[in-house]
Amino acid sequence: MKKRTFVRTLVGAAVLAAFSGAAYSQQVIKIGLLATLEGPFAAGGADGMRGAELALKQKNGMAGGKKIEIIKASSDAKPDVAVNATRKLVEQDKVDVMVGPLSGSEGIAVKNYSKTQPGITFINGSSGAQATTLVDPSPNFFRFNTEGAQWMVGLGEHALGKGYKKMYLISEDYGFPYSQVQGFMASYCAKGGRIVGKSWVPLGTKDYSSVIAKIPGDIDALLVVLGGADAVNFLTQYEQAGGDKPMVGGTITVDQTVLNFKGKRRESLVGTPSAGPMADSLDTPEWRKFVADYKANFKDGFPSPSLFAYLYYINTRAALEGLDAVKGDLSGGQKKYREALQKLAFKGPAGEVKIDENRNGVGTTFITEVVKNADGSLASKVIKSVPNVSQTLGLPKAEFQKMGLGSRDVPNCP
């Protein structure tokens, strides 16, 4: 059917294509699934799709008594491409519910697009920009996962507990790290910690020598909010320059590439704290079942589900649970479905999943530390969990609004 649509369109018989979509939407509910299968996050996007498929497989491809059909689309982490792909799913393939996209700026763009399609419900994939639900939120855009700033809540206190009173920040220069840094600094600064300097580097920076030269000697630790490959580059060069300060990592800093780091500083990585909405080493029955299901279903997947797989999983599962709640009834501009989504709460693999009045996730953040296994390999271990983290980072709403969204200069405590 899709192939036919393509051929028809090619020959220009556009009229026919208009009818092909609506024909059998009564028995089947179509869910559009958007992730990045190209570009820098291609591996993450593929795993996100696995997470979404897993959620559907656990329900045997059914929700609300109807068969669920997933139609996939791809972007390359660019907002314009993401909107094009979403528009195709919504307007051409006539999906009823959208799940996606993957990255922050895509999320903001898709949220803006969702306002032009009030009849469709949009559910986030794994994007984590604060502004998506805090600035000009869209009534039909739901995000069941927590975002970048929430993922760092509690890490500030933890760093203070380790005696890191003065820190220096090295971070990538775009929205997601801004949020992460804010999540860390909000409580860290309030409790008396100081970030004496900030270095914002472009995404994908290879040479950190100028940054390393700027790191003052009298700090207790470094706050490193860099993606995996960037983090390894930084670590290698910091080591070569003779640096020896301990490190606190962002959510995507301490991943497998960093844990497999082979340099001399490998030993000093032990004890590096980090935080996130999930942790590989989580030891709850729900998480163990999730990992077991993931491994059983996807032989070509990662050894353990990635952050993207987890986030797509909970968002897709929320979409399906919502359909169950209304028994597949999407009539009346999906009004009932949205009310059901708003009230939805279920126990996900890593804690309770529910949303606030801006339709943004309220959930658990896990503080982890790098530990050394008996066989010498490094792994991250859950130290504690912070439940019910809201988008205002545990602050009263007015106080959070006074601080504003995270940016290069917000918050600040030199």
Partner: protein, 376 residues
């Protein structure tokens, strides 16, 4: 340069004349009114049935197609085609393959976002000028930038022009990525929407399609017209033999810079349309992938007629949108690549070359010959 070299250059130029319609000299006799009348008559005579059909199809298209096909396929193809047209004009008629055309378009788009009304909630950078001020200023800035890029690259030839314009494009990409005070870095600008004018929301698929169609037709006829002016003819002469044109007293440098600026106007208009189409602009919109995409569109369509840019854009957009349906999962880029490869492999002149080949085959089999060769 020695006299022998001169003679050699002149002779090779003369020995390999490039057959091109449009280079023929206009008639010189007669008064002004007579010339005007004759020109109109000639223009009417040039209209073929296929021109009427294509124009009618373009006008009727949004009324039969879904809003999605109107907006994403139709309008996007037209906007991208306009940017590619600027490259076709420069490359096909000026002999300068400039990879910076998407950069010029991006500059125009960024200027619309910076001067005009991107949403104030996202950034404090936008000045919030009304559209009738922001858009002309944006196009003017982009045209100046295009002239500057032309001035930079004008003394180079062939692959060196490609290299220097690619360098300019990549440099602009990194400027956008790393400058926060003007270009807002990685995030760029969101919600850069087409304005509401005369009570029409130009962001609506139908209105935006006609806006894009109008400017695409304007750009197309502008190029067609420009190619028959003395300037255009001199430009094609420069493409074929710059030394000889120089010897004839034409200022080669000035012609090339002027061509860059003229192409810049087209790219800038395309850029404004693109930023309104996307509703946003960021470094990704001017990155290397889009720089290359414009080249792909131009080559795919064929660079020896202005219509090629739009044909290429239509095929490109259709593939980008629907390839994932033909072959599901992660392999759809393979389809796009294979189609591009096949077209370029079997027809070095792109889709226009295929059309010409088909036409000559059809003409041969049906037994009548067309006196007008080529695809014009």
């Amino acid at each position: 340069m020695s006299a022998a070299e001169w003679r050699n250059a002149m002779n090779t130029g003369a020995a390999v004349p490039r057959p091109r319609r449009g280079v023929s000299a206009p008639p010189v006799s007669g008064g002004g009114a007579e010339i005007g009348e004759r020109r109109i008559r000639r223009a009417l005579e040039a209209i073929r049935l296929r021109h009427v059909i294509v124009l009618a199809a373009l006008v009727v298209y949004p009324w039969v197609a879904t809003p999605f096909l109107t907006f994403q396929i139709g309008a996007q193809s037209l906007a991208l085609g306009l940017v590619a047209l600027s490259l076709t004009f420069l490359g096909g008629y000026g002999g300068m393959i400039s990879l910076a055309q998407m950069t010029v378009a991006g500059i125009a788009g960024y200027m619309v976002a910076i001067f005009g009304a991107a949403s104030a909630a996202d950034t404090a950078i936008s000045l919030g000028w009304p559209w009738w001020l922001a858009v002309p200023v944006a196009i003017a800035v982009a045209t100046l930038a295009a002239a500057f890029i032309g001035w930079l690259s004008v003394r180079t030839e062939g692959i060196y022009t490609i290299m220097i314009t690619l360098a300019v494009g990549v440099a602009f990409y990194y400027l956008c990525l790393q400058n926060y005070s003007v270009f807002n870095g990685f995030q760029g600008f969101q919600r850069v929407n087409a304005p509401v004018v005369f009570g029409i929301n130009w962001r609506d698929p139908l209105a935006f399609y006609y806006l894009a169609l109008f400017w695409s037709l304007a750009g197309y006829f502008f190029v067609k017209y420009l190619l028959r002016t003395p300037f255009g003819i001199a430009l094609q002469g420069i493409r074929d033999n710059p030394r000889r044109m120089n010897a004839l007293g034409f200022n080669v440098t000035a012609h090339r810079i002027a061509a860059s600026a003229a192409a810049g106007v087209l790219a800038a208009i395309g850029g404004v349309l693109l930023v309104w189409y996307n509703g946003l602009i960021g470094p990704g919109s001017v990155g290397t992938s889009w720089i290359i995409n414009i080249l792909i569109i131009a080559v795919l369509g064929g660079m020896n007629h202005p219509i090629g840019a739009f044909l290429g854009a239509i095929v490109f957009v259709l593939l980008q949108t629907f390839a994932i349906d033909v072959i599901d999962r992660e392999r759809f880029n393979l389809v796009i690549g294979v189609v591009f490869l096949a077209i370029v492999l079997f027809s070095p002149d792109g889709l226009l070359g295929l059309w010409a080949a088909l036409k000559s085959r059809f003409a041969r089999s049906s037994g009548f010959s067309t006196p007008r060769g080529g695809i014009r």
